[in-house]
Structure formats: C-alpha cells, structure tokens
C-alpha cells in the first residue's frame, strides 16, 4: 500500500487502506516522541509554509513541532500579520509564498474549500489544517490513531459526537474516517446545530438530539468545543447548553464502561465538559495532542519526501 495523494485536502477522499497506511506511518513517528532526542534529519533541507489565515495556536504549534522534528524548516504566516489584511487576494498571497520555494504548504482558513482552491493553483503539496466548516483531516487521523492505540482496533465501533455539529470541521473529518472502518456514528447536539442532512454524508451516521440516547452503548465519546460566538448567533443560553449537553460523569455512565472520552481542544471546563470527566482515566485528551504531532509528521513526510511507497521502510528513532 502506498499513499498516492499529492495533497491532503480532506478525509472524505481517503480510502480505508490509505488511512490505515497513514496511521501505520504515524505509528513509526510516535516512537520518536518517547526518545530523549526527538529530532530526525529526514526532511533536512526541506521547508514547510504554515499559512494560518485564521487564528490557531494548537494546530499551528503541532504542525511546527512536526516539521521541526523531521528536520524541516518552517515559514510562518499568521492572519493578523499577513497581507490579506492589506487587501491582497488569497491566490496572490500563496503564490508569493510558493515563490520562496517551500516543499509543502499547510493552510488553515476560515473559508471552506480554501485549501482545495489553493491546491488547484499551486505546484506544491497542500495540507488542509482546517477549512471553515468543512474538514480538519489531520484531526480525524489523530483521533483515529488515538482510538486504535487505546482500543486496539478501529473497526465497528459505536461513536458518539456531541456538540455543534453544524459548524464542526472536526466532526466531518471524524465521520469520514471512522465510517470507512464500519463505525456507527451518532451525532448529538442542540437541534439547530444538528442538520438532518449530516446523516447522509457517510454511511452509518445517525442524528440523535437526546444526549442520553446518543451515549447509550457508545465506545467512543467525542465532545466538541462550544464556540461561545456561536452561542450568540441565534442566542442559545449557555445554561441551556449545559443543562442538556454538558458531559458529566453521570451522563458518561450511559456509555460503555471502557468508553474513550475525546476532545479536540481547546476545552472549556464547566461548559461542554465537566472537569471530572476531562481528568478521568477515560479521557485521552492529552494523548490526542501527542498523537497529533506524530500524524502531522507522517503527513508532512509522505507529501514532501516523494517516497510515499517506500515510507514504510523508514526507521523511527
């Protein structure tokens, strides 16, 4: 098996075999995280542009760390300092960055499809680090890696995703990754954030506005971040959200005893999640962060080394 994509734009386009291959590759890089010396020379001389047109701390640092551990240089562009504020178009901005001859561009953008738009027009690989309401494919992959590590498999699991489904790119990427392994995904949240059409974006997806029913029998529970700015759009009182959807120890007991509790971060304790849940043994929030670096190392490596099919031979550590 090899990874034949030039870009990583969305999880929807990945096959089950490609996901497995990516996760296996990530596994090799996980080992490095445990070494005292974490830096490889694999991508020495290569450079990655991290073009973040939307504020991000975690994902940007995760990609930056991944690039650094592979020995690649990074060039950073952040929205607040970028020329887009001066009226330059996205295409002109990325063409300027491309002219500095990087080997890959990682892009985070508030507009869905912006990485696809860029990928069609540039000659270098593009990695989607989150586009609008659409996808966040490396998040989907790092979540899958975390589940596979903890439970020993990805196949045929009951997964509940709770929160603002409508506006969540994390939910979309997870749905596309997990359903390819036969997982049954239940989406739960306040009705206005739970479009019925979401049940149609992949097989075995269902909508369940009642949290207790959504958690029933779940083996994986993903709690999404509640963006407080969303609460203001059609005003949903915060207390209402907490009353119906906050993940508490009592509610989590509806799920299987061994169920994993995941959160893409940043987490707001006391809003979408009770601190006791966030810190419980079921929680894998910090493993997700660690695995994020490994997955992003694998993605950057596979897209820039030009050796997709030989990647499996690379020794980690």
């Amino acid at each position: 098996m090899s990874f034949t994509f030039r870009h990583l734009l969305d999880a929807e386009a990945l096959s089950r075999d490609e996901i497995t291959f990516l996760l296996d590759q990530s596994g090799a890089f996980q080992g490095i995280q445990k070494q005292p010396l974490k830096k490889l020379a694999t991508l020495r001389g290569k450079s990655a542009v991290l073009a973040f047109f939307e504020t991000s701390t975690r994902t940007r640092i995760s990609f930056g760390t991944a690039a650094a551990r592979l020995g690649a240089d990074t060039m950073n562009l952040q929205a607040e300092s970028s020329s887009t504020q001066k009226g330059e178009s996205l295409i002109d901005t990325v063409r300027t960055l491309e002219a500095m001859r990087p080997d890959v561009i990682v892009i985070r953008h508030a507009a869905s499809g912006a990485p696809h738009f860029v990928a069609e027009r540039l000659g270098i690989p593009v990695v989607n680090a989150g586009d609008g309401l659409h996808e966040h494919p490396t998040q989907g992959l790092l979540d899958a890696l975390t589940i596979r590590d903890r439970l020993g498999r990805l196949d045929d699991l009951n997964v509940a995703i709770v929160g603002d489904i409508r506006h969540s790119r994390v939910a979309r990427s997870n749905i596309h990754v997990l359903t390819k392994f036969g997982c049954r995904v239940t989406l739960c949240g306040p009705a206005m954030w739970l479009p019925p059409e979401m049940a149609g974006i992949a097989p075995n997806v269902r909508i369940e506005p009642c949290l207790d029913r959504a958690l029933d029998g779940a083996q994986v529970v993903m709690v999404l971040r509640v963006q407080t700015e969303r609460l203001q759009e059609p005003a949903l009182p915060v207390d209402e959200y907490i009353r119906l959807y906050q993940m508490t120890p009592e509610r989590l007991r509806r799920a299987r005893p061994e169920a994993l509790l995941m959160h893409p971060g940043p987490m707001i304790r006391g809003l979408e999640i009770d601190p006791a849940v966030a810190d419980s043994p079921q929680s894998c929030v910090l493993e997700q962060v660690t695995n994020g670096v490994a997955v992003r190392m694998a993605v950057l490596y596979l897209l820039t080394s030009g050796a997709g099919s030989h990647a499996a031979d690379i020794q980690a550590g």
Partner: protein, 427 residues
Amino acid sequence: MESQVLLIHGGRVVDPSRGFDGPADVLIEGGRIVRVGPHLTASMAERFDATGLIVAPGFIDLHCHLREPGNEPAETIESGAQAAARGGFTAVCCMPNTQPVNDNASVTRFILDRAAAGAIVRVWPIGAASKGSKGEGLSEIAAMKDAGIVAVTDDGKPIASAKLLRNVMEYARSLDLPVIEHSEDASLFAGGVMREGPTSVRLGLRGIPAAAESICVARDVQIAAMTGARLHVAHMSARESLEQVRWAKQRGLPVTCEVTPHHFTLIDEDVTYDSRFKMNPPLASRQDREALLEGLVDGSVDVIATDHAPHTQASKEVEFDRAPFGITGFETAIGLTLEALLHSGRAKLSRIVELFTSAPARVLGTQRALAEGETADVTIFSTDHPWTFHAAESASKSRNTPFDGRKFRGGPMATIVAGKIVWRRKS
C-alpha cells in the same frame, strides 16, 4: 447603411404570437418586415439562406447586468451587447444595480446614450424601485419612465419592506410599469453561499434555505393582490415559490415569473468549491429543477431570462465564500434551453420560442411578432448544429461561467436588429 433589403429564405418560421409554425420566407425592407410567406423573391436584396434553420421573432432577455456605469472591467454596454447578439438576443433589459445605481433619469439617459453609441442590440434599462436601491425612499420612477425604463426593481436584493413594496406597486401600477422582484428573505439568507441541503452540509458551505425565496414570493404575491400591480418574479429557483405564483395566476392576478437556464440545467449537487457555481439564487435541488421544467412546459413559468452577471476574473478567483454571486449567460441560453426542453422531448419549439419572445414582451406590456409591419428584429437559430462553447472566446469581457467547454446541439446562428444582421455564426 448597408443593404436596405434583406430576404431570409428557406427557413422554418416559428411565431408563437400568431400560432404560426411552418416554412416561410421573410422579406425585410427599411428595418421593417414587409412580407412573410412562401417563395418570396426580391431583386437587389441581400439574401440569407436559412435552410434547415428556425426563423423567430427577436429574442428578449428580461434580466441581465451590463455593469456600465461603474464596473467596466467586468462588462460594458458595448461588450455585453456583443455577447447578447451572439446569444441570439435582439433586446436585453439591464438591471439598475450599477455604480451609480440607475435610480434617476440622468443615469437612464446615460445608459441609452451609451447603447445608441455602441450596442449592436437593443438595450432596455430597468430602473431602481428605491433610491440607490437602498429600500428607503422611492426613486424618480416617472422621470425614468419618460427617459425610457421598462420596469422597476431593486434587483440584487428584494424591495426591502412590505410597506415600501406596497408603495412601489401602487405607484408603478399608476405608471403602467411592471415591478420585478428579487425575492429573498434577508434573515434566512443570512450570509449563505449555496442552497441549504445535503451538499451544503457536506461541503461545509453556509446554506440558504429554499424558504428564503418562497416566503418572500408569498409576500410579493399578497401585495400584488392588494395593489393590482403587475408583479414579475425574477430568477425563480424553488418549487415552493412556483406554487405561490400558480396560486396568484389561478386568481387571475397579473403575476409572472422567469427562470434562468442554469437553474433548469444545474443543481446544488453540481456545486464544488469553484466559484463559477456560485450565483444567487443558488443552484437548487433536483426536485426544484424538475418543478421548474414542468412549469416551463405547463405555462406557470412565463419567461426564460439569463441573469447574465459578469464578474472580473480577479473578483471571482477567490475563496468560494468571498466570491461575488453570478455567472454569464447570454451565449449559452439557447443551447441549454434546446437541450433541456426540445431534445428531451418536453416542449415543442413554439413554446420554447414563446418563452424568449412573446412571453417577455407581455411582461413588459408589449408584443413580439414576426409579421408584416413589425420591426425587423429576428433571431435565427438551429436545433441541431453541433458547437462547443469556449468561455475564452466569449464576446463578454468576463469568463465566469460553469458551461465552459460544453458541447451543444443547436444554438443561435444569426441575430438581426432593425433589419441588419448584427451577428452570424462563422462555424
């Protein structure tokens, strides 16, 4: 002046205004049709061999944006008219959302002066219903009518409030002008970029529900009923909107509507992150497309209009969210219509011609016929000539079309305005 006399011979004349469909020659002299009949002869005449072609009254486009004044890099009255002629249109109605807005007689006169100086087809301006199309006070509608407008609208957005719409309709009725409505509820529209549905949810693009259009059409027909004004619903996309129009028609109200070729050709499932698929109203559902096609055949849809909306490459080649709404439409309209209505077997040729000629004329309170004494505006088209549309070769200054590279069976062959052949197909 070139040849004063033009004989179009060998063609099949289709004139729905008088129910005529059959072989006939057309003799034009001094810009007027002097005879329509079999085997006409004329010495010293320029001859147009229309063998195998359809000869129809001049096509009218009720809805286009020519961008002048204000956005000449996207289109000018001259370039837009060139594109219209290539599309088989002999007259086009241009929307008032220019810069400045066509909300007073001096802008109307400017448009008509520019058209007289450089447009090869007729340009009929539509005036803004409210000052600056801002939805506050009425514009100078009577003065614009004297200057030459044929309708009023705040196109690009709906007439802002029910109260204002009532005033516009009452006033327009007294002036015998139709009110054209871009029906859209702003609060439901709410920053959407494509039709809400399975595809918008999958792509993560903000959705515009069908009801954003249909509840406004419901408002509009109610106020039309209240005022007795002529209401024409622009670029209708949703089947629920069509139900509202049918309701009005059943009550005998003077309510008409139009659909665009892209709305009866493409659907939301065709949308990608390519902004050439971004227009307003957005591409609708498969069921909507079917309903619009049925409406075109059964008469509940009155008119096909292009909503030709040119945009520069720089403005359109951006993130989908940021791109302006709209696509060009003149040159592909007939080809798309023949494909969807004629070759599919849904409609007869006379109905198709009606949708582009006598029907839009009726909306404007006039007539369109290919008969003795009429102005010699004639559209000649083929129902089977194979050709390919290349956006790069378009006469429009803009290239924003999802139909680049599309192969057609049949399309415009020649456009005649006031007896003069202003365009004819070369290959």
